[in-house]
Amino acid sequence: MSENTNLLSVKNLKKYFPIKSGLLGGQKGAVKAVDGVSFDIPKGKTLGLVGESGCGKTTIGKTILRLHDKTEGEVVFDGVDIHSLSREELRKIRPRIQIIFQDPYSSLSPRMPIGEIIGEAVREHGIVPKEQFDDYITKIMRDCGLQEYHKDRYPHEFSGGQRQRICIARALALNPDFIVCDEPVSALDVSIQAQIINLLEDLQDKYNLTYLFISHDLSVVEHISDSVGVMYLGSLVEFAETDAIFGKPLHPYTQALFSAIPVPDPDIKMDRVILEGSIPSPANPPKGCKFHTRCRYAMDVCKVEPPRTIEVDPGHKVVCHLYDEEIMKNKENEK
């Protein structure tokens, strides 16, 4: 894959949050929220990120937008490293990268009418000339399934699904290339979820958008994504095309995650892999493979040595000793 086709590429990104304590605020340790994550997103495609809460999905989204400063690594958007830009340069590139937040109830200012919420940044960045401003906002609102007379209303007058449409319109108004969707449908009802997902897909076709779709709902991710990354404790454990990963999940964590999804059919009694316990603290992650404390295939080597990234099939990468031929050979020899 050549560098040019990727709109965004993240290389070995790390984000640590310091833990401070005491009177002088000396640093005691760090929460390793994102710990060495790399992926590429080609233009016009959708990457889904899945994982349990607290695994660092949202932190990745925010670090890509530089809402958080990185600790290490690179975020290259369209050939530029976002974290090396000056304030002014960053301001210029910001309209091209947008975000839709999880909770449409708390991400809209209650004191601003909808037209102003959507239009504020348009005016600020001078996206369209002044005389076209009104028409432009109307057009964006229509695209997102809102009516023109909604412009003068306030957020409290809208239902959850409509508010999420407003959030989408706000992101879209800046004519972005890339949108981070941080759990955009988790707070909505099933029937509304479908409307919003369809809307996101339509807009993607129309404007050739690229999405990073963060969600813990695997069925939604399967529907919308072209490729999927599974995260556990700040690292990617498996990365592949959607069909490959859902057809043949390799990492034990991915398998457990997929088998935990309830199937809407009472006759299918799943052979369930139930994970014991909960996710360990990212401030003090287990040594070796981070997943070994909950893994049912855990071997001795997993407790000592962190696994390498192994490309099992072209494009299907997994971080697990089980697929490392060298280690498995050693193990057989020992027997």
């Binding site: 349990e52 809460s53 007379y149 239902s159 699904g161 009802d189 099933v190 029937s191 509304i192 979820q193 479908a194 409307q195 997902i197 369809n198 897909e201 813990h216 695997l218 069925s219 939604v220 399967e222 529907h223 859902f246 057809g247 457990a256 995650l257 997929f258 088998s259 935990a260 999804i261 309830p262 199937v263 809407p264 059919d265 009472p266 006759d267 369930r272 139930i274 994970l275 909960s278």
Partner: protein, 406 residues
Amino acid sequence: MSDISKNNNSNINNDKEQAKDKALRKKANYISAKETSSISKRNKKIVDSFEAKRKRKNVQESEYTTTMRDPNNVVEFDDLHTYFFTDIGTVKAVDGVSFDIPQGKTVGVVGESGCGKSVTSLSLMQLVQRPQGQTVKGEIRFNDGGGKAYNIPDMPDDKMQKIRGNQISMIFQEPMTSLNPVFRIGAQINEVIELHNPEMNKDAVRKRTLEMLELVGIANAEGVYNMFPHELSGGMRQRVMIGMALSCNPKLIIADEPTTALDVTIQAQILDLLRNLKDKINSSIMLITHDLGVIAEMADYVVVMYAGRIVEKGTAHEIFHSPSHPYTVGLMESKPAINKRVERLYSIPGKVPNPINMPNYCYFRDRCNRAFDKCAGEYPPEIYLSDTHMVTCYRYAEDTKGEVDK
């Protein structure tokens, strides 16, 4: 020249029409202060009469005992109406709901938010926000197992306190907010046991609490006993809530979205726990959720609610293999399923009607893609497709069946 004036004219006309349109739209949602005060006066009268009835002292037991239709049921909802009397009108949150919860079975209630599924369960617990929320009509019969049956809406407060939390208990959606942050876990469970079993001494209560914590799969029961809620993870807190709900051996557990706030892997743990416990203690579960997957996994019977009414009910098998009401069908199609890729998700058009001004025809007609002439008539009757499978839709009525297929 004339061209321009024509243009101007049409512009003015357009503006006028838009202004008119706007005014009309405003009127639809607008209530004057006068109207509001007259509504609130009327409401006060209604609410006061209900409250007066409730506040009487020394109510005879015969007034609230009743007989079960089927002694194998734990709870029977019979034509339940729970209304909220607000200043802008009456919200019919539950409007004629009837279904049974058999002994030892799990009944799943599905529906979108605002469809009245939580209000149904709160009516059963007598926890509806009073005085504006009132059960105005219908019975909720509760079988106490000792040969007595009570009609819950008529029960006086002091009697209800003996049932609530003791024989019927509830697990709430948010384990974070339903535990008290300033008391230790042990103290919170102890309180429930002490209240309902005054004869037990302190050591026995403590023993029972530890037993409960072990039952719900908490390995370090002694340690957790002395912890505060913030020290536990979401899954652990939900386990504590379940332990608390089970501590008095309830006959019925109401689980109101017990896993919505949890991750999939933790959800699988909790569902597994609930299923095992149900077999162990032989109680019934009323499971409220909007996740069809959870329902399919847990429930024996399913009730689908829409806008305060039941649109379809039946065994889990019937509902999932032959969903009949267009709403149920739409709900199932709009959920993306693993390993079943579709180009485009189905989405039910439109939105739930305004709860204050409900139409007098089928509530779902305006969003239904299979509606026909008959649907404009009065609300469709209950039609039984089998002994257990009920649907309220004219498509299945005997006299109109033929018309639909044409």
